[in-house]
């Protein structure tokens, strides 16, 4: 059976980690054709062709596909859907924007944030902020699926799949891009980093959040945050980890001044080692931490930076 996988393409560049993880999940379903779409997507398509297990790459380049606007991207995918039983993507915000739209146009129920593939129509996915794992079996002719990347290993590189170009579908002209506010950073990307250091409301201010960033830099880590820290303006929205933010599963997750609400745990409890620093020994975060340190973060974190 054939699978069409929407590659994660940002400004013409392939997001290798997210795409390669989705390829791993998709390979279990059949031959994987990757679709690279964007205002410029050729380079992304070439990069995707190297992912092990990719049988073919389709490149769709058109101004209307820039910035991954949902309406034009969904129209393109639907125009290609005929040949495929599965239409899949990594569960990024871009894909969460586009894939339910694709599913509805195909009269299928989208299966979001899949964490396990049982067979071609049966999938596992977390519900209730990860408090339950549901196994669902789809009766739809076409299955539209997004994969939670934190639970799949990235496919390797070394392939050389053929690359073909495909035309964009007619632009419905319903929306247009205005601007992006993206902070450039030399730090590793949050969802693929080996180490993540996150700060919560306990950090207290945007100024003091620099302490969290210093610890992250010392460890070569990405920086994360709780919702409370983002809401309070200590950290940007794209650092939020949790049920409604990013889901991460690094080798080491350090939670500083975070209480451990279920909505936060939903985004990090699959990390290999969890460290919690919190001055409240009753904080629920300690129930999931491998190593807990009951301490004031303003003394513990500087000491940690010094001793690492």
């Amino acid at each position: 059976m054939a699978v069409l996988l929407l590659a994660e393409v940002n400004n013409g560049e392939l997001a290798m980690d997210a795409t390669a993880k989705a390829v791993t999940a998709a390979k279990a379903l059949g031959d994987v054709t990757v679709l690279a779409a964007g205002a410029s997507a050729a380079a992304a398509g070439d990069a995707a062709a190297k992912i092990d297990g990719v049988a073919k790459v389709l490149v769709a380049e058109d101004a209307s596909l820039g910035h991954r606007l949902a309406e034009s991207t969904a129209t393109l995918i639907v125009s290609l859907a005929g040949d495929y039983e599965h239409i899949v993507a990594p569960a990024t915000t871009d894909a969460k924007n586009v894939m339910p739209r694709v599913a509805a146009l195909l009269d299928a129920m989208v299966i979001s944030d899949v964490s396990g593939v049982v067979d071609g129509s049966t999938f596992e996915r977390p519900i209730y902020a990860g408090n339950a794992i549901q196994t669902v079996k789809s009766s739809d002719a076409k299955k539209v699926v997004t994969f939670r990347t934190s639970t799949f290993d990235a496919a390797g590189e070394g392939g050389a799949a053929p690359v073909e170009s495909v035309p964009a579908a007619a632009d419905p002209g319903l929306s247009s891009w205005v601007e992006d506010k993206v902070a450039a950073s030399d730090r590793p990307e949050l969802t693929s980093a080996g180490i993540v250091v996150s700060g919560g409301r306990g950090v207290g201010s945007e100024e003091d959040f620099k302490l969290i960033e210093s610890l992250a830099d010392k460890l070569g880590a990405a920086v994360g945050a709780s919702r409370a820290a983002v809401d309070s303006g200590y950290a940007p929205n794209d650092w939020q980890v949790g049920q409604t933010g990013k889901v991460v599963a690094p080798d080491l997750y350090v939670a500083v001044g975070i209480s451990g609400a279920i909505q936060h745990l939903a985004g990090m409890k699959d990390s290999k080692i969890i460290v919690a620093i919190n001055k409240d020994e009753e904080a629920p975060i300690f129930q999931v931490a491998d190593y807990g340190l009951v301490a004031d973060l303003f003394t513990a974190v500087p000491e940690l930076i010094e001793k690492l």
């Binding site: 902020a129 549901q134 247009s176």
Partner: protein, 252 residues
């Protein structure tokens, strides 16, 4: 302009979720239920549009069991003008899938002709994050998901979206569907007088059959499991011990 706000009745976000012993789902009998938190934000935004003179009427709609009436009364108490309940299930454990919800909402939109639909980004029970996008597809409308800022200017809206890379601003043609994220606003609490007033506001009751929509699920629930529990770890006495442990594990 009329604003339609779909609100879902879900388990309260503070409740500890329990998986039923027979694996059929999560126990919802005698559990505190509330309006999906994202939908409170959507209702708040709609009311603010009305207060700003950009909307004339706010209509809340909920699809599910009869008890979703309570959720609609909450929306009315916050300030929605009227409500529509679409009964589509008898058992509180039956979740109507986003595709079916979107199909019903599409019919409601046909009838009500709103200029804007403000939905939540995600229901915190099924965590599907799909209904708004699906409704938009069915109507052939524009969509703006995960909104943290909405600015309506005549026949278009400028919406800032929370995306993986940061923030993206797009301009969408009206009518449109916006799904709201956490930081769009802080929803108000309903005051006691407004809760009393809400009891007298109109609440229409319909059924899925009235709209001719088949709500049979496309996803059969094979089973529901508890997630693997993490093993409890240890409390370390000081930073030195923490550093030693992490070195021992080879993670730093």
């Amino acid at each position: 302009m009329k604003v339609l706000v779909p609100v879902k009745r879900v388990i309260d976000y503070n409740v500890k979720v329990r998986v039923k012993a027979d694996g059929s789902g999560v126990d919802l009998a005698n559990v505190k239920m509330s309006m999906n938190p994202f939908d409170e934000i959507a209702v708040e935004e709609a009311i603010r549009l009305k207060e700003a003179g950009k909307a004339e009427e706010v209509v809340a709609v909920s699809i599910g069991v009869k008890q979703a009436q309570e959720t609609l009364r909450t929306a009315l108490a916050m300030g929605a003008d009227r409500a529509i309940l679409v009964v589509a299930a008898d058992d509180v454990h039956t979740d109507i899938e986003p595709l079916a919800v979107a199909k019903i909402l599409a019919k409601v939109v046909e009838e009500e002709q709103p200029g804007l639909v403000l939905a939540g980004k995600q229901a915190i029970d099924n965590d599907m994050n799909a209904t708004g996008q699906m409704l938009s597809a069915l109507l052939g409308w524009s969509q703006a998901t995960f909104a943290s800022d909405v600015d309506i200017e005549g026949d278009s809206a400028k919406v800032t979206r929370e995306v993986d890379g940061g923030l993206q601003t797009i301009s969408v043609k009206m009518p449109t569907i916006v799904t709201v994220d956490l930081r769009l606003n802080e929803p108000r609490y309903a005051s006691l007088p407004n809760i009393m007033k809400a009891k007298k506001k109109p609440l229409d009751e319909k059924t899925a059959a009235d709209y001719g929509v088949d709500v049979t699920p496309r996803l059969e629930i094979v089973k529901t499991d508890e997630p693997e529990a993490r093993q409890a770890g240890e409390i370390v006495p000081d930073v030195d011990t923490l550093v030693a442990k992490l070195k021992e594990k080879g993670v730093v």
